[in-house]
């Protein structure tokens, strides 16, 4: 038999639309904004809809309208995902694929299931430390222009003058703690803070994610 095609496995990039509101006016406003800022980002892009946040109120007609609207905008929904069995039924009825959701890991800060890397030397400008699948503990300063990154949490006992990125691969319950905050950038699970969003310089701080937002506590001893 002549082979008409080769079967290969491949990973294609697909955007996940985490729907927070299925009101078309809300969605169109944001899509117009995105098209304005980054034209072509969503042109003919295959997307998967995540419906978990709207599972309580979403009706079949809402989903049909949403899909039609997205197609008009040249966005191509190829599937949708949701935990709720009733929504799953709706998804299949509208002709979309229901894609399985991977269970998210719930991990405690500096948990024992990942290791911890300890850096004793000052991290200098231009240096980058990446603790892959580890927590990161730094016992010295992180200079301006240096970058410390961990898939777990980061604790810095010296002054933080550079950039710190925790939960770099989206791991949950990661945080950044520093004794002396002069950071250029703080990022956890893809959310970030710069400049005047950051707390007062020189304070000890703890940064963490609460309800999908990057927040901080200033740790005062008084």
């Amino acid at each position: 038999m002549n082979q008409a095609f080769n079967l290969k496995s491949s990973m294609q990039p697909v955007y996940l639309f985490e729907i927070k509101s299925y009101k078309l006016s809300d969605i169109s406003e944001q899509i117009d904004y995105l098209n304005d800022k980054t034209p072509n980002l969503l042109a003919n892009a295959p997307v998967v809809l995540d419906l978990n946040r709207v599972e309580k109120t979403l009706q079949k007609q809402d989903l049909i309208e949403l899909i039609d609207y997205l197609k008009q905008q040249n966005i191509n929904p190829i599937g949708a995902q949701c935990h709720s069995p009733s929504i799953k039924k709706i998804i299949i009825e509208t002709g979309l694929n229901h894609s399985k959701i991977e269970k998210k890991q719930n991990v405690d800060f500096l948990s024992s299931d990942i290791g911890t890397r300890v850096i004793t030397q000052q991290v200098r400008s231009g240096q980058q430390i990446y603790a892959a699948n580890e927590n990161l503990v730094i016992l010295n300063n992180v200079s301006a222009g240096a970058e410390v990154i961990a898939d777990g949490s980061i604790t810095i006992f010296g002054a933080l003058r550079g950039r710190a990125v925790a939960g770099a691969k989206g791991r949950e319950n990661t945080q950044i703690i520093c004794q002396n905050q002069h950071a250029q950038l703080i990022s956890i699970q893809g959310q970030y803070m710069v400049d005047e969003q950051l707390p007062k310089l020189g304070n000890a701080c703890r940064f963490y994610i609460k309800e999908d937002r990057l927040e901080f506590d200033e740790l005062t001893t008084s």
Binding site: G126, Q127, N141, S143, G145, A159
Partner: protein, 267 residues
């Protein structure tokens, strides 16, 4: 075995060559046989500061490429018989420096000298990396200015990761030298203070050289400023040499001078 010392900074124009000239002259005057090498191939300056511009026949690159022997290229200083200068080539570029070539010359110099001072070019590219690669100790020159401090921090990182000592698992001994320090402006908060700089870089302080008109005069005359002991800058370099040799001296010229009524009137 000679001790190899690199004078480096990352940023240009902060006083690396002035410092190299002063430090090498100071060490030679204290009786150590010292050679200072200009690593700034293509932008030869050290010979001007050392006033041996018209005596350069062969240079560093000629020796690396085997066109001249080391003894032919070394220039003996006229003021101090313990001091020798190995000038850079003005017509080549930094790619002429090879790790093997530099190592061979440093090994040969090591046999007869006490100190080898490597005057690094600015930047963090090949030339600067060649200058610091073989160093045992480093003098990092910084101005009280944020960009200079940032660049010094960068070069400290390179010393800690890309030097021969770092590759062998040991470390280069670091010294911080602050130059062009203006006490009055630092007191007013217009410049970084010594404390700020030491805080950011966390490196032991070798000396603070005050901003002084005698530095420019000395460069233009081809006299290392350390020979001008009437000037604050010359005295501060002399102090730095004594600290380098292990003496514990108090830092001078870091507090603003209170002007008396007479000097205020007569300027």
């Amino acid at each position: 075995m000679a001790k190899i010392i690199v004078v480096t900074s990352g940023k240009g124009g902060v006083g690396k060559t002035t410092t190299s000239a002063a430090i090498s002259m100071g060490l030679a005057l204290s009786g150590k046989k010292t050679v200072v090498i200009d690593f700034d191939i293509g932008l030869r300056n050290l010979d001007l500061i050392m006033d041996c511009e018209r005596r350069v026949v062969f240079d560093f690159v000629n020796v690396i490429q085997g066109d001249a022997s080391l003894n032919q290229a070394l220039i003996k200083d006229k003021r101090c018989e313990k001091l020798f200068i190995l000038p850079a080539s003005q017509t080549r570029d930094k790619d002429a420096l090879t790790k093997e070539g530099v190592e061979k010359i440093l090994n040969e110099l090591s046999e007869t000298f006490d100190y080898i001072i490597c005057d690094s070019p600015a930047g963090i590219e090949h030339g600067a990396q060649m200058a610091l690669y073989f160093a045992d100790e480093a003098i990092v020159v910084t101005n009280p200015e944020v960009s200079s401090v940032r660049d010094s921090d960068r070069i400290l990182g390179i010393l800690q990761s890309k030097s021969r000592r770092a590759e062998q698992g040991s470390s280069v001994k670091e010294h911080l030298l602050i130059t062009r320090y203006d006490t009055a402006r630092a007191a007013k908060g217009e410049m970084l203070s010594v404390t700020d700089i030491v805080d950011i870089l966390a490196v032991p302080l070798l000396g603070v050289i005050p901003e002084s008109s005698s530095v420019l005069t000395a460069s233009n005359q081809g006299t290392p400023v350390i020979l001008d002991l009437k000037s604050n800058a010359g005295q501060a370099y002399a102090d730095a040499i004594r600290r380098f040799e292990g003496e514990d001296l108090e830092m001078r010229f870091i507090k603003p001078v209170k002007k008396g009524i007479l000097s205020r009137v007569f300027g």
